[in-house]
Amino acid sequence: MEKQYDYDVVIVGAGIIGTVMAKHLASTHQSILILEAGEPVSDWQAYEQRLDTFYRAQIKVPNSAYPNNPNAPQPDELDLKNIGNEPDTQGYFVQNGPMAFASSYTRTQGGTTLHWLGTCLRMLPDDFKLRSTYGHGLDWPIGYDDLQSYYEQAEFEIGVSADVEDQAYLGIKFSPDYVYPMRKIPQSLADKFFIKHTKNLSVRYQDHSYPISVTSTPQGRNGMPNPAYQNGAGYTPVGAAGYEDLGQRCEGNHNCVPICPVQAKYSSLKTMQQLQTQSNVTLLTRAVASRLLYKHGTNLIEGVEYKRYTTPNQPEYQTHTVTGKIVIVATHAVESAKLLLASGIKSSSGLVGCHLMDHPTLITWGTTPTPVYPYRGPNATSGIESCRTGSFRHQHSAFRVDMGNDGWAWSIGDPYTQLSTWVNGSQNEAPLFGRQLRERIEHHFSRQCRFGFLIEQPAQRSNRISIDEKYKDALGNYRPVINYQYSEYEKRGFVAARHISNKIFEHSGVKDATHYDPSLANHVEIDQQAYQVVGAGHYAGTHVMGTDKTNSVVNRYQQSWDFENLYLAGCGSMPSMGTANPTLTATALAIATADYIKSKG
């Protein structure tokens, strides 16, 4: 007799990967359970509470709208510091260093798409063969062509605004007649300033010249629907979860990170909302997966043990188990690897938790000669993509430039930081008030510009998450222990990025205001030049896919090599990210994996 399971599919994590997979499997699988560790965001009112929390937060970091939950804790940028000889245990992460892993994620229903920027760049064909072409990091077992049609599906699920003619560069191909669901989001005044001032500007690496050109960024936020979408069928934007009329268009709240107040930006709450009509999909929140259950010597996961709590601030919980014919772990690159390690699963390759990646990000900023009026529009609407690949990748990291519309908010915490200095006075200047203060605010804040250089970080085995009996959270679950450093390859990328920043600023008449505070985390010096590196929130690589069980944790379908009914889905499966924000690619992979599961029946 066939074994009876509680559910056909048990999915750990109600973020974008878990919900998109549930949506794609709901038509073929009779019962699906989604376990979510965090608090529910079950309706519009619950979302508004997060918005209110953001308004009241004194420091508006990415997680400021989503309070830490001791029963499902999360990392926070405010926990960061320079790491000395002892591990930094102040925050959720145990940071072994030598560098601090400087990114956060969100453990609430909706996951990190609640606070993501929404950038939906596809990876370049070159990015899939980094090792074989450039001798760094890891290759994928698949290529761009294998993902191309899934990218289109992912762009539908997220609702991406972009124009194909802007995005077909450096080998990125589209199906004939393909258009994005919505037209590109209008570019900001700062974008236009740099478009004008970088004409004919290029940079040389070895024998090649790379043009510096500003490109509109594909974004997971609602714009004007493209009537040509799907051969003229068009596209209907998806509004806020539980308040469909709201968020039909980006309204220029310049607050994508931490929280879009109208949900014009995609979050997986929208996909979950679509699942509410599916009676065969069940969501269980406040249910923290603590162990995968299996018998030693077998190749099947029998079920998932989880701890159910009733309120975030009380550590009381009850332990339950649930069985599933298929188990999908999609609970963030760090949490998924942690769950495997907590279950005693290191995989045949021993690579669970290894190859942790991010995009180390170098921020530079300056003052434009004429007003560009930042602090308006989505946080970024354009980028410089021309250095995303090239023969220089033999020597140093590729990078892309995220062109901020957020003034110096990310750089130094403006408008608050300088406002405070002007009002309170400084060694150089008496306090400003009245007309002088108004004039200073209007003049200075209208001329701020900011670049974020997202540096490619090839997989290194020693960058990893692990667990340690010494470090547990309120429910007795492990806290992630992180070892992390930048390679010389990446450091040379920082240098190249800074060089380009200088070149663009000089060429555009922008007065460079970049300065780095040595007391802050991740201050590095290269050739007597200071660099400050922050995180981009782009976690990847902790359960990489590969060609066999000796070089990877999962196969090309994100299926565990060791347990045939276990799928590890998400950015953790990615052997490289190149310079693309990983969510779109992970979503494309999730749909490909759902198709594979469906094809197996």
Binding site: Q58, P415, R438
Partner: protein, 165 residues
């Protein structure tokens, strides 16, 4: 003129927004009460009386600003409160007074750094001064960011500083 009205005029002079804008935030009473609680009514009444007298004595905004600077901002006791009030209007956040001030003039439990309310954040005048909307509220609408902001609307000319009562 009521003390609250003087407070509104004082706030207008400090921020260079007109009294209509100050009142339109809906925050004046709340901020006035906060100041009374933290610094005590006698001190705040003295401050506002001092300001009101200056408005009677001055014949131009330039002169008034000079007097505010000399008599209030540079005053050890009143200056810190006044600078805090400017930041409060600009950001909706009350910043804890400096240690020296607290030791000399008294500590109060409400004198901790905090965003007064969600509405106070959204009413922050710094965003208006920047010709934008508060980050995450009062959205200007789709596509507005591709054009310069409409800055023809003026919030300047804080008030008619001659006694209006």
């Amino acid at each position: 003129m009521s003390q609250l009205n003087v407070f509104i005029q004082f706030s207008a002079a400090l921020t260079n927004f007109n009294t209509l804008t100050i009142e339109g935030t809906g925050q004046a009473q709340r901020y006035y009460d906060l100041l009374l609680n933290i610094a005590g009514p006698p001190r705040i009444h003295a401050l506002l009386t001092l300001f009101e007298n200056l408005t009677h004595q001055c014949s131009s905004l330039t002169e008034l600003e000079q007097q505010i600077n000399g008599k209030i901002i540079k005053n050890d006791e009143m200056g810190a409160l006044t600078l805090n009030l400017i930041q409060l209007w600009m950001t909706g956040t009350w910043y804890q007074l400096g240690k020296a001030w607290r030791n000399r003039y008294g500590k109060h439990e409400q004198d901790v750094t905090h965003v007064v309310s969600a509405q106070s954040y959204k009413s922050g005048l710094v965003w208006l001064a920047m010709n934008t909307s508060p980050s995450g509220a009062k959205q200007p609408g789709y596509g507005t960011w591709q054009y310069p902001p409409d800055i023809t609307q003026t919030y300047h000319a804080p008030f008619s500083f001659k006694d209006e009562s």
